[in-house]
């Protein structure tokens, strides 16, 4: 510190303090530069220019329909008052930079704390505005998403499926009552639901007029204590549900699965009589009854299948990644490749390629792989393998670089050759980190393969994104639960294994 002070004393400001301040008002930061504080001045100039530039962009963004900056500015602060706050902060910062330039020229070590706080403040407010952060919206509308959230959090209603059967009993009704009407014989098996009506014929209701014939409907062999709907089927096989007084009519069966109900033949526009002079209708009692024991739902089964696919997807890509990255890691290790310029060049090239591959996200690799081999788990495996090679290649080579050279030296000193030295001194040292990195990578790959699925790389992610798009949040919830459980188990297992090998 004293050395720095000394240097400042030796080289005083090029300009008087007031001039430094005034110059700073023209170009923020220039005052500091003239006060022999070049780096600080440059930083402040860049800070000020970027803050001002970002602010102008946000004004344009907020009021893009207005013409002319003044109109835009007015509209922007009207829509988003925070833009005015940012302007005030930037102006205060501008003045503070000038004041700081004055102080810098006047004293060796000005206290610039407030100015730097303001620099950070201006950028955080800008960030708040750019990020469209609106806590009020979260508070106001967040509650609306709660039912959806609950379905995701507790989706198990959909885990079981109750097989259902439609129980139908029907009886023929001849309209109007006709002698010798041809009613096809009806065979009801013993124990099957049945319906009878008396009389089995009658007249339709008239629109805003007389009610049709009242029929006494008796049913039996239905599921007990269950809601039953009444439907009509007219002569052209049109089905419509029976209403009386505007309401759908329902009847609940007794404990024996029987019911009794009076029904009135409804109104119908279609001509009732054909060439035979009468129409044959049916009146039906319909019941949706659950039969048998509940079974696991299709969604659950599909989730399990796809979860297994995902785990194996992660496993296979880790396997290929490990196999391919081990040789790569040896030629990417500085300590093994520093023998001459040729090996050093290989080391540099391999390292660079690994860095480039690693910097491309596996999601992007998945999209590329899908173009190459089409949708499905193989594309996911390819994508994760490529990324694993790069990531593991780097981790492995760092493990090789950090081995203790002592044992290597000691084994060499016994007269061992290269292969013996690697086998006895290098391999035992790199096994623990290799195992640990491999397990860690498997962990990452399973996690990633859930995401890879979302772009079509196979696995449970594909199901998940489909269900979310279908707004089937319960099924999505099941998938999310499986992912969470698997990841948690994997986390535990991998940390256990890594601890054991440490």
């Amino acid at each position: 510190m004293s050395g720095k002070d000394q240097r400042l004393e030796e080289k005083p400001s090029l300009v008087p303090p007031v001039v430094a301040g005034l110059i700073s008002l023209i170009v923020p930061g220039l005052g500091h530069m003239l006060a022999r504080n070049f780096r600080k001045g440059l930083v402040l100039l860049l800070v000020f220019l970027s803050a001002a530039g970002l602010w102008i962009w946000r004004v344009n963004d907020a009021a893009r329909r207005e013409i002319g900056f003044v109109a835009m500015f007015k509209k922007a602060i009207q829509l988003q008052p925070i833009i005015l706050v940012i302007l005030i902060v930037i102006v205060v910062l501008y003045l503070l930079i000038a004041y700081d330039a004055y102080k810098s020229a006047a004293t060796a070590k000005p206290n610039s704390f407030l100015m730097w706080v303001l620099v950070l403040t201006s950028f955080f407010i800008l960030g708040w505005q750019i990020g469209e952060i609106r806590p009020a919206v979260l508070v106001r509308d967040g509650a609306k998403s709660l039912p959806l959230l609950m379905r995701v959090l507790w989706p198990w209603e959909k885990a079981l499926y109750y097989p259902e059967e439609l129980l139908v009993g029907s009886a023929d009704v001849v309209i109007p009552c006709t002698e010798n009407a041809e009613v096809p014989p009806r065979v009801v098996e013993e124990g099957d639901p049945y319906v009878t009506v008396t009389p089995a014929c009658g007249d339709l209701s008239q629109i805003a007029g007389a009610e049709g014939t009242k029929l006494k409907m008796v049913g039996g062999n239905f599921a007990p204590n269950d809601e039953t709907e009444i439907w009509w089927v007219d002569q052209v096989r049109n089905e419509f549900r029976y209403r009386y007084g505007g309401e759908y009519v329902k009847v609940v069966t007794d404990e024996n699965g029987a019911f009794e109900l009076d029904v009135v033949i409804p109104y119908r526009v279609i001509p009732t009589t054909g060439d035979k002079g009468y129409a044959l209708w049916q009146v039906e009692a319909r019941q949706v009854a659950s039969v048998g024991k509940p079974v696991l739902s299709e969604e659950l089964k599909l989730s399990v299948e796809k979860m297994i696919e995902t785990i194996f997807l992660g496993m296979m890509s880790t396997f290929f990644g490990v196999i391919l990255s081990i040789p790569v890691s040896f030629i990417a290790s500085r300590n093994l490749m520093s023998a001459n310029w040729f090996t050093k060049t290989i080391y540099m090239v391999v390292r660079t390629i690994l860095n480039i591959i690693r910097s491309i996200e596996s999601l992007v690799w998945a999209v590329i792989a899908i173009i190459a081999v089409g949708l499905g788990p193989f594309a996911g495996i390819l994508a994760l393998t490529v990324h694993s090679i790069a990531a593991l290649g780097k981790l492995y080579s760092e493990a090789i670089e950090s081995i203790d050279p002592g044992p290597v030296e000691a084994i060499q000193a016994t007269g061992a050759n290269w292969l013996q030295t690697v086998w006895y001194a290098v391999i035992p040292q790199i096994v623990p980190p290799f195992v640990s990195f491999t397990i860690y990578r498997w962990d990452i790959n399973v996690r990633m393969s859930t995401v890879i699925g979302m772009v079509g790389g196979g696995g449970i992610g594909y199901l998940l994104i489909q269900w979310i798009r279908l707004l089937d949040y319960r099924s999505a919830g099941i998938a999310i639960w499986f992912i969470a459980i698997t990841v948690a188990i994997l986390d535990f297992v991998s940390s256990e294994i890594r601890n054991r090998f440490a």
């Binding site: 002592g406 016994t414 007269g415 292969l419 013996q420």
Partner: protein
């Protein structure tokens, strides 16, 4: 007989570790190399088994210049030279037995050794070496489970497996407490006296040097600044001490030369300085 002639080592970064070092080690000697850290002791020892290639000069071992050996010749040289290290340099995760067997690698075919198949004679040798070092019980433990003194004995057992004619010991007791230091040096001394193995050992403490060395060379900044035999070590004067360790060095431990000068030298020989 080992003869070092005008040995110079300059590292790639320009550091001069050894400058024109010459000395002779007759067979059966316990030569102690003393000097400050960075004086070139480790470099000197590693030049002898060619873990480091010297820049200039020759090392003649029984008349053969070993500085130009390559490939199999170099490995055949190395297997006759055991080495013991300050940090023991055991493979920590391997068992004691595996570490000891590693001393036999120079004699074993590659394929057999990496599949861990050593012949019965080698296993016999390993048992003998372990027994001699008193660590038979520890054979199946992992090397890093052992205490420092035990690890160093494994290191010596490994060197012993090579059936060496020469053992290089690079500050073998610098990481051990004084009691263990004596125990380890006694093991080396017994190899020297009973088996006739030449020992070149770098040490820090003068009392150990006086107790175990049969001759001494002192290095400073890569130069030999002191040579002495057993009697001369015992009579090392403060002036000699300071040529090795520098003017500001304070003598600790060991017998001072001036104090001895009045007394009779143990076997009554004339001391030449």
């Amino acid at each position: 007989m080992l003869e070092v002639r005008n040995l110079t080592k300059i590292y790639d970064d320009g550091t001069v570790a050894l400058r024109n070092v010459s000395f002779i080690v007759p067979d059966g000697e316990f030569l102690v190399v003393i000097g400050l850290s960075g004086s070139g002791k480790s470099t000197l020892l590693r030049c002898i088994n060619r873990l480091i290639d010297p820049t200039e000069g020759q090392i003649l071992w029984d008349g053969v210049d070993i500085t130009s050996l390559k490939g199999d010749d170099l490995r055949n040289l190395r297997r006759k030279i055991g080495m013991v290290f300050q940090q023991f340099n055991l493979v920590k995760r391997s068992t004691v037995l595996t570490n000891v067997m590693a001393g036999r690698l120079g004699y074993s075919p590659t394929w057999r050794s990496i599949t861990n198949r050593f012949d019965d004679a080698d296993r016999e040798r390993a048992q003998t070496a372990l027994k001699r070092m008193g660590i038979t019980d520890q054979a199946n433990k992992r090397a890093d489970e052992l205490s420092g003194g035990q690890q160093q004995r494994v290191g010596i057992a490994r060197a012993l497996m090579q059936e060496p004619k020469l053992i290089l010991a690079d500050e073998p007791v610098a990481s051990l407490d004084p009691v263990l230091a004596h125990s380890i040096l006694q093991h080396l001394e017994s190899l020297n006296k009973e088996d006739g193995i030449t020992i070149i050992c770098s040490l820090h403490y003068l009392d150990l040097v006086q107790r175990y060395g049969t001759s001494v060379i002192g290095l400073r900044d890569g130069r030999v600044v002191y040579e002495g035999n057993k009697k001369q070590i015992l009579r090392m004067t403060d002036a000699e001490f300071k040529t090795i360790y520098g003017e500001e060095a304070e003598r600790m431990g060991g017998i001072s030369g001036e104090l001895l000068e009045e007394e009779a030298v143990p076997d009554g020989e004339e001391v030449t300085e």
